[in-house]
Amino acid sequence: MKQKLKLFIRPNDVLFFRDGRPFDAGGDYTARLAFPPTPVTFYGAIRAAILGQKASNFSQLKTKPWPTEFNSIGLETQKRTLCISDFGLALARKGAKKIQRLYPIPLDLAKNKDEDDYFILSPSPDKDSAISMNFPISGLRILHNASALDAKGNPLILETPAGFLTESGMKKYLNNKAPTGSKDIMPTHDVFEVEPRVGIRRDNKTNTAETGYIYTLEFARLGNAWREYQIGFVMEINTDLLETDAAKVKLLRLGGEARSAVYEADADWVNPDKPTIGTKFKLTLLTPAIFKNGWLPDFIDPNSLCGPMDNGKIKVKLVSAAVGKYVGIGGWDIQEGRAKPVRRAVPAGSVYFFESADDTQFDSDKLIQKVYLKSIHEHSNLSEDSNLIEQGLGLTIIGAW
């Protein structure tokens, strides 16, 4: 059994995570920031760190298969056992006393456009609304909050709030209470700021800037200890290959532009409370998920909206969903020397609302055991080499509605 490491990763300086567009100075002049990065980036960083710490001969890695000691972080076609779990969004803030995770804003959390009033949305009980809409599948219900009304009883104009949910905000959210104020929702600019930097290419013969090679990179500067909190990332990973000696500096190469971060291997944090579930629940994605049918989870039948979870032991019916704009997940296959196919992924923060397919009560403990901080992909039939679960994709948290 591999040991489970709980890491807190803090950047040494700015970090660089590029969006899906190619960038080369002299071609496109600006590399755009995509923040926060997906768990796939961290998975790669940990694998690279292990190889950097343990591999004595890098040329060995160009041949297949890799030395057996690296089986757990092996090639794409091998079934790896290195696995990210309990990952959350990966963002976290470290104060003087404890580490608290920061969560993506769930899309069923809405804010009055002009005031700091927050509402949790849930599927409307009105199944025969006079208003029709072109949902991709018939039978889905509109999300609403009956108390999000103005003084005259008209619906308020709502928007998805910006920022990140704190531990206290998540606690309220999972208990179906709306978060309030900065204690529950941390503003984006306190978590990170975009820092554009202009670069040039230098002619090494003349030591002057080359014409036509001025470019801009957008870096992320994470909030630091000068404020109340140090912003970083947390992750839990099962490996005994990663250096954990407290006396050694533990570096990771994270993102692009050879930027580095330091990891602390003795981090700890408290997970959100587990709710009690009756006949309905919602799953909120903490990391992006990739489904064959785009936005629709693999285990849901598009005709009946019903589907089995946990190999058919749990039967659910999809009632509604709040799904954000898809994000692209691809990457670079170093061994093959080419880009991996880009998959469209449901973004973190998306929420799926389920109810019991046969009106019976769920076994709350059993359900929670199967979905709480687990990957939604565990309920799909995945091919052997997809590694979606191991890479920390599709992690969910369960709440009541």
Binding site: I131, S320, V323, G328, P341
Partner: protein, 663 residues
């Protein structure tokens, strides 16, 4: 009360921002905007043929399709149909839009340029079909009026709310791909598009790698006017770039270099008109145009480029050859050997480049002789987003407590006013093509409803902004509703070689700054210097309540006057430099009056000794009240920007504009 038989619908097409922002050239931006407007026009036609009445936008049955085909149709359509099936009609419109877009993409995919057809190459076909069929996001909601007992305001509000809730589920399909062995696979492999994130570059089966196809087939020098160096595109980006001829649009669009050099073209046009046919100026202009056209012919660079509409219209025919020279050729660095080799893939730079460069030097010297105040061609331009403030809320408010027919009439009036503003007034203000106005250095990209997206030269920026804001309010003042309409604008001032996507983002962020931080009815301006120094500032349109737009101390008047004094040398740039240097110390002074005295001292110290009285007068009547007004709460709580910083940043923008972007 008689119940209405009308069923109302609200229909929207997207993604708007993502589609527009995927632009490397001004032409991409225009084409994207035009294409969206065209698709919205197609949807509108379906509704009209189905006997629907459109309220927003204000299009009546019988209006020619051609008239709808301007970049002025908003992506949201609101209307009603009597005794009809609104849902079926909306679905028909959605099918028409999706089908139209896919068909357009397929037509472009089969262009000779690509050397491959969708019929013969399944991989090529799959890339194009999958990307085009799964790109658009169309959402609609419908509701019978009777469901809300003919309460029009309630109905409008509920539909607006429902559309927002529908958009909470942004359903999408995964893209598919065919492997070389014909095996279908999920996700698309290969290089990624230079413009649209997360889409793969298209390539045919006969080439193993997309890079090889693009490098060996498409990125040849002869195609340089189609694709830039290192550019590799997806089906969506290519469709956007090449759609205009397929939509019967012949209009070309000036490059950012031409936009930035606008005042130089205008100045030379004025000089041209004032000089004799055999003057040395006319000869030099003609010689320059001829030499550049010879060079561009040899190196396969674009010729007969577009310029500002007003200049194109008002210039005499013999000046038009010069107007067709792209602004890039007005900068001496464009003729450097390295640049020509890089941009046009030349192995040897022809000697015609040297001749054209000499002609440019001669042109600048001759123009300076004729008018010593004639600035060299500018390198900075502005892009602006104007948007009505809280339009949804106000459009609901004006129909509240009104009877069904009266409410509908009010909305129709508002829609007609918006259409007149966007299709007639905005082009007049921005482009100034009419015979009786001075040619304006502006070009509209999109103007529909309460949204305007336009380019302009720095010299005309403040005046265009002021008129847009004034006219918007005026147009909506006469619709018979007791609600005041106003708008905010976001501007980005950028170097002509800066990445257009970044400039568009900056302008959008400035608009956000104006709307959120300055709490609307305001302008936000981002200054993006080539050196990498980027700043965003802004203020309310007015000071001293509402007497702002024409008033001597309205914000734009204050800034415009300051820009003028910098331009004419009455105030030296050392004023802002020294004010910056003293900022920290001044912020320690608690008394506002003392800070003002120091500002005044610095201003007068850096003024032309012969114009001190004029400058002092400007300070007293404009600058001091402007500074004081900034002390009134004008920034949302929690924004860490001092009044002095806001004041200095605004004057710095004005100074930059006054200098025409020269530092």
């Amino acid at each position: 009360m008689k119940k209405s038989n009308d069923t109302f619908f609200l229909f929207s097409i997207g993604p708007v921002q993502e589609f527009l922002a995927a632009a490397r050239r001004t032409r991409d931006l225009f084409a994207g905007s035009y294409l969206l407007s065209h698709l919205a026009g197609q949807a509108a036609q379906v509704f009209l043929k189905g006997k629907a009445k459109l309220i927003f936008p204000n299009i009546k049955k019988g209006e020619e399709i051609k008239k709808l085909d301007t970049a002025s149709i908003p992506n949201r359509i609101f209307g009603s149909v009597s005794n009809g099936n609104a849902e079926a009609l909306a679905e028909q419109a959605a099918t028409q839009v999706r089908g139209g877009f896919t068909k357009l993409a397929q037509t472009i995919a089969n262009e000779k340029l690509f050397g491959v057809t969708t019929e013969k190459d399944p991989i090529w076909k799959t890339f194009w079909l999958e990307q085009s069929a799964k790109f658009l996001q169309i959402y609609y909601v419908t509701c019978p009026a009777a469901a809300f007992e003919d309460n029009y305001a309630r109905l409008y509000r509920e539909l607006d709310y429902a559309l927002g809730q529908r958009k909470l589920l942004r359903d999408f399909e995964e893209l598919g791909w065919l492997k070389a062995n014909g095996q279908p696979e999920l996700g698309q492999p290969g290089l990624k598009c230079s413009l649209v994130p997360n889409l793969s570059v298209v390539y045919p089966q006969s080439y193993e790698s997309p890079k090889r196809y693009w490098d060996e087939h498409l990125l040849k020098p002869k195609n340089r006017h189609e694709f830039r160096k290192n550019e590799r595109l997806s089906a969506i980006a290519i469709t956007k770039r090449k759609c205009l001829p397929h939509l019967a649009v012949r209009e070309n669009f000036p490059s950012t270099s031409t936009l930035a050099a606008g005042h130089y073209y205008r100045n030379l046009l004025e000089m041209w008109k004032q000089t004799a046919a055999d003057s040395d100026l006319r000869k030099t202009i003609g010689e320059f145009a001829s030499k550049v056209n010879t060079l561009t012919g040899i190196i396969s660079a674009p010729q007969n480029s577009a310029n500002y509409p007003a200049l194109q219209k008002k210039a005499p025919d013999d000046f038009k050859t010069f107007l067709g020279i792209d602004g890039d050729w007005l900068h001496s660095e464009s003729y450097s050997e390295e640049r020509l080799k890089n941009e046009y893939g030349l192995e040897n730079v022809p000697h015609e480049a040297g001749l054209a460069k000499s002609a440019l030097d001669s042109l600048i010297q001759t123009a300076n002789r004729h008018d010593p105040g004639c600035r060299p061609p500018g390198k900075y331009y502005a892009i602006l987003y104007f948007d009505g403030d809280k339009m949804g809320e106000k459009l609901t408010k004006i129909v509240e407590d009104k009877k069904f027919d009266a409410a509908r009439t009010l909305h129709t009036n508002a829609s007609a006013a918006l259409r007149e503003f966007s299709t007639e007034t905005v082009p007049r203000i921005v482009e100034g093509v009419a015979d009786d106005v001075t040619p304006r250095l502006g070009k509209v990209i999109y103007s529909g409803g309460d949204d305007v997206l336009a380019f302009c030269a720095l010299e005309d920026l403040f005046e265009i902004l002021r008129e847009l804001r004034t006219e918007f309010e005026k147009h909506l003042a006469n619709i018979g509703a007791d609600v005041q309409f106003h708008g905010s604008v976001g501007v980005a001032i950028a170097h002509h070689q800066m990445n257009l996507q970044q400039v568009l983002d900056a302008a959008r962020n400035s608009e956000h700054f104006a709307k959120e931080t300055l709490e609307r009815d305001a302008l936000g301006i981002a200054l993006l210097k080539r050196s990498g120094e980027h700043s965003t500032t802004g203020c309310k349109w007015y000071i001293n309540d509402k007497k702002y737009l024409e008033h001597e101390y309205g914000a734009l008047q204050v800034l415009k006057e300051f820009a003028g004094m910098i331009d004419s040398g009455i105030v030296a740039t050392g004023f802002i430099y020294n004010l910056h240097a003293e900022k920290t110390g001044l912020e320690g002074i608690l008394q506002e009056e003392d800070v003002l005295q120091e500002i005044k001292r610095l201003l007068l110290r850096h003024s032309d000794p012969n114009k001190k009285e004029e400058v002092e007068n400007y300070f007293t009547r404009s600058l001091a009240p402007f500074f004081n007004e900034l002390h009134r709460p004008n920034l949302k709580n929690g924004i860490s920007m001092s009044v002095l910083t806001q004041f200095i940043d605004l004057l710095e923008v004005a100074q930059f504009v006054g200098q025409g972007g020269r530092q």
